[in-house]
Amino acid sequence: MKTMDHPRIRDLAISGTGFVFDPHTGSTFTANETGLEILRALGEGLEAEAIVARLCARFEVDAAEAERDLGEFLLVLRRDELLEAQP
């Protein structure tokens, strides 16, 4: 399984309630269960394919829906500079 390192994601303090604290900026936000699962998966270094598979298994959704959710959430993370912008 391919992995990627996302140091900003890895350093996030993620609470089980969905509350997330970014120690680099002091920002906080809340994420739903899907968002939390994606953050955890990114923190583990998983790539998109593996994250989609995990979302399908965890939330009993098809791959198209999981890909859409992942894509939207990655946009938010890139906007907030928690993920590097795509080249």
Binding site: P23, H24, T25, G26
Partner: protein, 354 residues
């Protein structure tokens, strides 16, 4: 191991734009090894920190810095005769040069301090910020030092609007055109004298670092904070400790470049272009109690350095620890105000009162 000095602390003006004194004292009291006395040094009988009876054991009025070194020295002699001080922590920009000039004399009296030198105070002044940034390889906003309002008519050749007009010690006024800049110039010049500093506005998140230098180029410790709630004066009313390697590296570069001795607050802004240095305040900020709350008690470390003790570099603190300021009404008997107003001093511990 017990740490039992008598420590004098200034800046008890805990108003809506608070001085750092009460925060410093709370941090000293939070040190589990501290069981000494705290002596508050106040300029006015209604400085709120005077009436923090659980924090301050004794209070003395002292002369304003504008009255000069000799007046302060004479007052400290009186205080030393009644309540011998081991350590003195000044916390106001305007008083630091006078205390720095008295450092040698205070040492002879047995009063330890850990202050930046006059040269360091000059280097960190707003007027020298660009030079300081160049020396420490830290970006600074476009800045001009202005001594006459006439210079502001051509200011756009050097600094674009909107910009900030800053007083040499305190205060800042945002200006979007020449007329506002001139009004800001007169306001700052009348309050704080000349020169006035004109600085480009850098949009981004303001980040402040409370830090302590060992005077030999080393960083004893530092806690960065992002303000999360501002007052209408733009002062931080709440903030959160953060952790960021780039911030830490920049702070270390500042201390290495200046060999800064003592506490300071490094004010920076993080924009898409990176970190820019806005200001160095040569003393603890009012929010310095956050350092103790986050597990890196910098005022307690400063007190030990001033007492001649060794302090090992500190690097651990808890990011995510917050401060949220509160305004409380303290209740005080008239006898306390009377003691300050008539005798210029107040003593709370009966067994040690003179």
């Amino acid at each position: 191991m017990s740490f039992s000095p008598t420590i004098a602390v200034t800046a008890l003006n805990a108003t809506d734009n608070p001085g750092p004194g009460v925060g410093v004292i709370r941090a000293l009291r939070a040190d589990p090894e501290f069981d000494g006395r705290i002596v508050g040094l106040a300029y006015d009988g209604l400085e709120p920190g005077i009436y923090t009876k659980d924090l301050v054991d004794d209070v003395y009025l002292i002369p304003y810095p504008s009255q000069g070194k000799d007046a302060l020295q004479a007052r400290l002699e009186q205080i030393q005769a009644k309540t011998p001080l081991d350590v003195l922590i000044p916390n106001l920009d305007a008083e630091l040069p006078v205390f720095a000039d008295l450092e040698g004399w205070m040492r002879e009296q047995g009063i330890g301090t850990f202050l930046p030198s006059r040269e360091q105070l000059d280097l960190r002044s707003k007027a020298n910020l660009v030079e300081l940034g160049a020396r420490a390889k830290i970006a600074t906003p476009a800045t001009r030092i202005v001594s006459s309002p006439d210079e502001l008519y051509q200011i756009e050749d050097h600094v674009e609007f909107p910009l900030w007009v800053k007083g040499v010690y305190y205060g800042a006024r945002r200006a979007t055109n020449v007329h506002e800049a001139i009004a800001g110039f007169h306001e700052m010049a009348s309050k704080w004298g000349l020169p006035v500093i004109v600085q480009a506005e850098v949009k981004g998140d303001e980040i402040d670092v409370v830090a302590l230098g060992d005077g030999e180029g080393g960083l004893v410790g530092a806690v960065p904070m992002r303000k999360t709630y501002l007052t209408d004066k733009g002062k931080g009313w709440a903030g959160v400790a953060i952790r960021d390697q780039e911030l830490f590296d920049l702070t270390e570069r500042f201390f290495a470049a200046t060999r800064w001795r003592g506490p300071c607050e490094v004010e920076m802004v993080r924009s898409p272009q990176g970190l820019s240095l806005l200001e160095i305040n040569p003393r603890f900020p009012a929010w310095c109690y956050l350092s103790a709350g986050a597990g890196m008690n910098l005022p307690a470390a400063l007190a030990r350095l001033a007492a001649g003790m060794h302090v090992a570099p500190m690097r651990d603190y808890e990011a995510g620890m917050m401060f949220v300021r509160i305004a409380l009404d303290q209740i005080a008997p008239m006898s306390e105000f009377e003691a300050i107003a008539t005798h210029g001093e107040l003593h709370r511990s009966r067994e040690q009162a003179p």
